[in-house]
């Protein structure tokens, strides 16, 4: 856009910039405050009302939360569920998406409709819980993965992506003696890496962030992923129900400790974020080049 050099034009741009800068700051400030708070002592946090820069730096809170195995275990569960879950989800999703992407397949419309309909109407919490229970998955890690293995949205996105790959390519591979599995794994998937990467990341973030399925299906607190632990330490221990904190941290935990747990539970996402961000920064640029 060509610059508007008039006075009102400049004023407008300056006000707009300032407002956006303030909004962006407000967006990240809460998390930065939590990070800063996790790296100081509870006395310092209580005494000086700092927002970002504490006077005393300390690793006390981290030493404390890593002094028992509870956090390690929960992190291990979360990492395991995220890795295995993403693999399982991507495997099932891409198989189904590829099958449904082929226009010459009889019955694909019926299956398509069955998938789409689940986005409009569902049995709800209790009947789903009963199914999972009947399958004997209560208190197993499988319960965190299998009941939500395929997202209808992601499957359809991938299907639409596969449909853009010219069919001629598949035909010629078939003539060369490739069966459909060979075509999918040797030709279609390598050509779809951008879509595969994006959808994998969405699945991974979903698995990492999940807490509801764990609360529903895991009674055994030793199997809890990090998000459930975070809820126990911060949400349930804030103000109300002091008996509900985790074993080993019996009195309501200090602010600094809560903050440290928040940082630990967020860290993996922040590590993935620059990678994700590169994707949509480019996307935005492509968009603006169009306009």
């Amino acid at each position: 856009m060509v610059e508007d050099r008039s006075f009102t034009g400049r004023l407008f741009a300056a006000v707009n910039f300032t407002l956006l800068a303030i909004i962006a700051l407000i967006t990240v400030l809460p998390f930065l405050h939590v990070v800063a708070g996790s790296f100081t002592t509870s006395a310092e946090l209580a005494a000086s009302k700092f927002v970002l820069i504490p006077k005393v730096w300390s690793f006390e809170a981290y030493k404390f939360i890593f002094s028992t195995s509870t956090i390690f275990k929960a992190m291990a569960v979360s990492i395991g569920v995220t890795l295995v879950g993403t693999l399982v989800s991507m495997f099932l999703t891409s198989l189904m998406a590829y099958g449904l992407a082929r226009r010459d397949l009889d019955g694909r419309k019926v299956v398509n409709f069955l998938v789409v309909f689940t986005m409009l109407f569902h049995g709800g919490l209790i009947p789903t819980f009963l199914v999972v229970k009947e399958l004997g998955m209560i208190d197993s890690y499988a319960a965190l993965i299998i009941p939500s293995a395929i997202s209808a949205f992601n499957m359809i996105i991938l299907k639409n992506f596969f449909q853009n790959i010219p069919e001629g390519l598949e035909e010629s591979a078939k003539i060369d003696g490739c069966n459909d599995f060979g075509i999918l794994f040797k030709i279609v998937l390598p050509l779809s890496m951008p879509a595969i990467a994006t959808i994998s990341l969405f699945y991974a973030v979903t698995y990492w962030n999940t807490y509801l399925t764990a609360i529903l299906y895991l009674d055994d607190s030793a199997k809890w992923p990090i998000q459930v632990l975070l809820r126990q330490i911060v949400v349930l221990a804030s103000g109300l129900d002091h008996s509900a904190t985790l074993d080993g941290v019996v009195p309501p935990p200090d602010q600094t400790i809560k903050m440290a747990v928040i940082v630990v539970a967020t860290l993996p996402i922040l590590m993935v974020y620059p990678f994700l961000q590169k994707h949509f920064a480019k996307g935005a640029m492509l968009g603006s080049m169009k306009g």
Partner: protein
């Protein structure tokens, strides 16, 4: 040669996230479209042998679809069948087949229970907050971002605004809890510093709704701009050029060019938002719910969980969930009809 030409027809990697949101919108359109039109099941084919041969030739494709189909049948359609327990007095040890049929008993109870009316009210209020307070914010943000000069700051602001979307509700709620808590939270400390009384944000029922909507805005408003930015990017720059020739300032250009150009997207997203009427995020509300704010914070989803899994009223809570699902389905259908009648781009 062949490979080369194919690869070039596939969208560039950078676009995928952007594309994801656009695709999402398209899919919702397809979804609503499919809901109201009957599906032609199979194309009439030339002969039975032809069909048989084609099915045999595609046998591996069926093998590929099978696990996914099985997943949807077991975890989506079996629970739909399970909805029939809302017409029973379901007892876990009797199973669905052995439980007594009680007809509409649970639905009658639903509408005579004063509790339920309150829960319905709470649900509708949160829905209203989503529509009237949250919904316009991403539009305004997108317009502001679009007016920024230079791509550098635009990209930085976007990256910062998108971050919260990737944090779980537990993290979002946890961060706000440590900030607003009475003992040592920064917000209450600041209130005291400026000479105000401390406020018990977490337990005071009148603070539940503001906290809810602020958290929704904080987490989703930035991410919500993506789809608007994409459609703003598609506007012909010649239009702005012409407007400037006529002496229109920045605000006039926004008002007369940008907003009309994205009106279709705004209407589509608004309709979709209304269509998702009762899905307000169980994950989110359940975290904010406590014994002090229950009277305003209990919504249908949380009530189903508490009554069903905590108190073992399987049939009654399934009836409530069923009621909600039906309302949701009716809303989608209605919204689809309305959008058809509007000459606008609508939902499809």
């Amino acid at each position: 040669m062949l490979i080369y030409s194919t690869a070039s027809s596939i969208p560039k990697s950078g676009g995928t996230l952007h594309q994801y949101e656009t695709e999402r919108k398209k899919i919702m359109q397809d979804v609503t479209a499919q809901a109201s039109t009957a599906q032609p099941v199979l194309k009439s084919s030339k002969g039975k042998n032809e069909v048989k041969r084609r099915i045999w030739r595609n046998r591996w494709l069926y093998v590929m679809i099978a696990p996914g189909l099985l997943y949807f049948l077991i975890f989506k359609y079996l629970p739909m069948y399970g909805l029939i327990i809302s017409f029973q007095d379901y007892k876990p040890y009797n199973g669905i087949l052995g439980s007594n049929w009680v007809g509409m008993k649970h639905f009658n109870r639903l509408f005579s229970e004063p509790d339920f009316l309150n829960i319905l009210k709470n649900t509708i209020i949160l829905f209203g907050l989503n529509i009237f307070i949250y919904f316009p914010i991403p539009i305004i943000l997108a317009l502001m971002l679009n007016e920024l000069r230079g791509n550098f700051f635009k990209r930085i602001f976007q990256s910062l605004l998108y971050i919260p979307h990737f944090m779980s509700w537990v993290i979002v709620v946890s961060i706000s809890f440590v900030m607003v808590t009475m003992d040592g939270g920064i917000i209450n400390d600041l209130l005291v510093f400026f000479g105000f009384e401390k406020i018990n944000f977490l337990l005071n029922p009148s603070w539940f709704r503001p906290m809810y909507i602020i958290q929704v805005i904080w987490r989703e408003a930035g991410w919500g701009t993506i789809i608007y930015l994409a459609s703003i990017a598609a506007i012909d720059p010649g239009l702005y050029e012409a407007a400037r020739m006529d002496g229109a300032g920045r605000l006039r250009q926004v008002w007369h060019i940008t907003i009309p150009a994205i009106r279709g997207v705004i209407i589509t997203l608004f309709i979709l938002k209304i269509g998702s009427v009762l899905d307000l995020g169980f994950e989110h509300v359940y975290l904010l719910l406590n014994s002090m704010n229950r009277e305003v914070a209990e919504i249908i989803d949380t009530y189903v969980y508490t009554a069903g899994l905590r108190q073992g009223q399987f049939s009654y809570s399934t009836a409530i969930g069923f009621f909600k699902s039906i309302i949701g389905l009716i809303m989608v259908m209605t919204v689809n009809k309305i959008s058809k009648k509007m000459g606008e781009e609508g939902v499809y």
